[in-house]
Amino acid sequence: MSVTILYFAWLRERIGLPRETVETRAATVAGLVEELRAREERYALAFADLKAVRVALDQELSDFDAPLAGVREIAFFPPMTGG
């Protein structure tokens, strides 16, 4: 399955790119994170502490247990600090 992944704020800076398209066999967000961590050191560092990472699936806040079936756009970012 091909998905678009977006990174924001310090996740974007640590991984070094704002978005990428990846092929994944993962069933859940957590599974996708495992695949990413295994790719390169910068991913392992960015996802070292998942308590500091939030995820959105197709622009809706979600969580790491959520299934990826049918999802086209996955975004990872730190807790939000607007306002």
């Binding site: 924001f8 704020a9 622009q59 809706e60 975004a75 970012f77 939000m80 600090t81 607007g82 306002g83």
Partner: protein, 146 residues
């Protein structure tokens, strides 16, 4: 009922007057404005990153929730992104109601949800370099009261 996300500066006072003029004889208007601080000169500015697309969806959802919970004649959320200088307005919300209690509660609700549920991230630029602003646990805790 309006949500605006923009890079351009906005005039807080002009927005307040336009909102009050269009609020349908509500009687009570509450506004909140967030300003870039300079921390006694230690900050030279800040930048806000956001998630285009999701930002508008999240803000529209928060605004609809506020309208469902309280009796509002008007509501506005306006949030900037990009670089900003100390003293500039970062964002504002405004609510109008016949009852001041509704206007106050809805404005606080909009702020609490916007702080923790809308995809904005602040980076500060100062004499010590640049740093992403950390989320505060108390901001997440604020959501529990609604």
């Amino acid at each position: 009922m309006t949500v605006r996300v923009q890079a351009e500066p906005f005039d807080y006072g002009a927005e307040c007057n336009a909102f009050a003029a269009a609020c349908g004889g509500a009687g009570a208007v509450v506004t909140f404005c967030g300003l870039v601080r300079d921390e006694d000169g230690r900050l030279s500015g800040m930048e806000i990153e956001h998630y285009p697309g999701m930002t508008e969806r999240a803000l529209a959802g928060i605004e609809a929730e506020a309208r469902a919970r309280w009796s509002l004649t008007e509501a506005l959320i306006l949030h900037r992104h990009g670089p900003m200088a100390p003293g500039e307005a970062i964002m504002m919300v405004a609510t109008a109601s016949r009852h001041r209690g509704d206007a106050f509660a809805a404005a606080e609700f909009l702020m609490d949800y916007l702080k923790s549920r809308a995809p904005f991230w602040k980076k500060e630029f100062g004499t010590d370099g640049e740093a992403w602003v950390a989320a505060r646990d108390e901001d997440e805790d604020q959501l529990k009261r609604w």
